[in-house]
């Protein structure tokens, strides 16, 4: 019988401390065939199991250009994520996926890209960023605007340093007012306002963003002011999910099931949605 809810077993090959209560796992499939054949597209997500506690949904934070493993990043906040957080290198957990649609990156060749992320909204965007950087010559200018509540809450600090150092990436980091530390060299302010300040050109450009629902709403406004057309603005929506395959009934925004018809949407689609997220 084809059991659509049966996870695959994966081994935690490495663990990275990203921020307080935030960790990344590098995961490899135990099954050799799957390890070699597993494919996914940027923007897709999976369900991750801590056996005995249940499943949680996160995006696949690594890029499909990096073969042989997948990475997820999560914050310890509930029962399942708490259980996952307690796992160690070499432990086994479960993975189901990949599910959902993806960013249409082939359509973006030759265009400038601006990435906007808030807090733990960076992981799904990171998959796109590395996909772009791994074939840098296919794309134009790359701008990344990333903010978190505090300096400590910024995730992927090593990679932020790396992006900062690259001369083919413009990285603008910000923290919410009050979240700065004495040595903080980045901006202070909320992501939408900082984005406007960057005055990134909308000419031949695509914007990709992820963050909390409230940030998404304000960033949409800011991008509008910068001249971005809604069809050139992409976001990935997250909602609570249990099945990931369009059956359990909780991720819908009005009549749209994020798991099946998303999680990637253009601003055109987001603006047509029921006010339910």
């Amino acid at each position: 019988m084809n059991n659509i809810y049966l996870p695959q077993l994966v081994t935690i090959e490495d663990i990275y401390e990203e921020a307080p209560d935030v960790r990344s796992f590098r995961l490899v499939f135990k099954d050799k065939f799957l390890r070699d054949s597993f494919e996914f597209k940027t923007g897709q997500f999976g369900l991750y199991s801590a056996f005995g506690l249940g499943e949680s949904t996160f995006c696949i934070a690594s890029s499909p250009t990096r073969k042989g493993y997948i990475q997820c990043t999560f914050r310890r906040s509930g029962r399942v994520t708490g259980g996952l957080y307690d796992l160690s290198i070499g432990d086994t957990m479960g993975f189901r996926g990949p599910y959902g649609n993806c960013f249409p990156m082939d359509e973006w060749k030759g265009k400038d890209l601006v990435f906007i992320a808030g807090g733990i909204g960076l992981p799904p965007v990171r998959s796109v960023i590395w996909n772009v950087l791994d074939r840098r010559e296919d794309f134009g200018k790359v701008t990344i605007v990333y903010g978190a509540k505090t300096v400590a809450d910024l995730v992927y600090k090593n990679e932020l340093e790396h992006w900062e150092a690259r001369n083919d990436v413009r990285l603008v980091q910000t923290v919410d007012p009050g979240g700065e530390t004495p040595g903080w060299k980045g901006k202070i302010g909320f992501v939408p306002a900082i984005l406007e300040e960057t005055a990134t050109s909308a000419e031949n450009a695509i914007a990709v963003m992820c963050g909390p629902p409230i940030m998404i709403k304000y960033v949409l406004n800011a991008l509008g002011k910068l001249g971005f057309a809604d069809e050139d603005v992409y976001t990935t929506l997250e909602n609570k999910m249990k099945c990931g395959v369009g059956k359990c009934g909780r991720c819908n925004v009005g009549d749209i099931y994020i798991c099946k018809e998303g999680p990637v949407y253009t601003a055109v689609e987001v603006k047509r949605m029921y006010n339910d997220f």
Binding site: N2, Y5, F51, R250
Partner: protein, 347 residues
């Protein structure tokens, strides 16, 4: 013209022959003083007085809880094995035509892209025998949602009761025809010449309800902000009872139940698929604390939208079959037809 004839006194024989072949015979019988669908072994258990069983028979294809995988966590690592469902030949006898129409709705969700074989494999082996209604109560509203006690949608074999308590038999589906052929000893070729069919009761169509208007109202995203929702649904206490008795409600949770967790001690457990309800406040609660449906009226609105917008629009199937169970079971007397009427009146 009926295809066959079934004598009341032969039902016992039918039950025995279904069970002897390893099958289940599910029919309305009393439990806690009310008619429910029950696995029965003799005709004496049948409730002769029921209008509609309290529970839906959706649990025959979508059980309240079921194990989907087993795991063991030991010193040598994790063992994981998915469960298989082969299904069991099951007859549901005495189902009502309203409810029969709901199975294809459930199926449309459980086969949308990914096929949930826990559901489909059971449904493949389910034979639905409906009996046209000769009784109704004030909560029945099938005619208001374009069904009727004469509907045969989703039915495999449709029966009409005669004055003598026997049944005229209409085979509706191939599955139904095969079932009748298999049990030809009880499904007689010809009705008695004097068989008179009992009058079918038609619940009155609620005049104020206009399904087209409801559809139009719900299709306009602006309706979300309409004060009609909090006004009409304020009294909902979010118990979720309506969803559990509803034949088209399909929401579920996936949870683990284990003998222990963590530490160095080996443990084992099961992963389960359990009924859940969109009426509960933590149903859509994010880990961050954000909740897209943070108040009860939004959750109620979602359920109504699911019935009258998502099901028809996404799956071209019925989200509401008018069985009235949600009305009968509601502890605060929130009547879905009153909301349907109120929305039909909106400009």
């Amino acid at each position: 013209m009926p295809d066959n004839f079934l004598k009341r006194r032969d039902i016992g024989k039918l039950i025995a022959s279904v069970r002897d072949a390893g099958g289940r015979f599910v029919a309305p019988a009393l439990a806690a003083r009310q008619a429910v669908y029950k696995d029965i072994s003799s005709a004496e258990e049948l409730d002769d007085d029921y209008i509609l069983p309290r529970n839906s028979y959706k649990e025959l294809v979508f059980p309240q809880t079921e194990v989907i995988a087993d795991f063991t966590i030991g010193k040598d690592g994790v063992g994981l094995k998915g469960r298989d469902v082969t299904g069991r030949d099951t007859v549901v006898f005495g189902a009502r035509p309203c409810e029969a129409a709901s199975l294809e709705s459930l199926r449309s969700v459980f086969t949308w892209g990914f096929i949930d074989e826990f559901c489909t494999k059971r449904e493949d082996r389910l034979v639905v025998i409906t009996i046209a209604c000769t009784k109704a109560d004030g909560a029945c509203f099938c005619t208001t949602v374009d069904l009727s006690p004469k509907s045969v949608t989703g039915s495999d074999v449709a029966l009409s009761e005669t004055d003598a308590g026997d049944y005229l038999v209409h085979s509706v589906s191939e599955k139904g025809k095969a079932f009748i052929a298999k049990h030809s000893d009880v499904f007689k070729a010809k009705p008695s010449a004097d068989a008179v069919v009992k009058p079918i009761i038609m619940p009155e169509r609620i005049k104020g309800v206009d399904l087209e208007k409801i559809k139009k109202f719900l299709s306009d995203t602006a309706h979300y902000e309409n004060p009609v929702w909090p006004e009409l649904t304020r009294k909902c206490i979010g118990c979720g009872a309506c969803t559990y008795v509803c034949p088209t409600c399909h929401c579920f949770d996936i949870t683990d139940e284990a003998t222990a967790y963590g530490g160095k001690t080996p443990f084992e457990g099961e992963r389960r698929k359990n009924w859940d309800a969109c009426q509960f406040d933590n149903f859509t609660l994010h880990a961050s604390g954000h909740n897209p449906r943070d108040t009860q009226f939004k959750r109620w609105r979602n359920r109504f939208m699911c019935k009258f917008n998502y099901y028809p629009k996404k799956f071209s199937s019925k989200g509401c079959v008018g069985c009235g169970r949600c009305i009968r079971v509601c502890p605060v007397r929130l009547d879905i037809t009153e909301v349907m009427e109120a929305i039909s009146k909106r400009p």
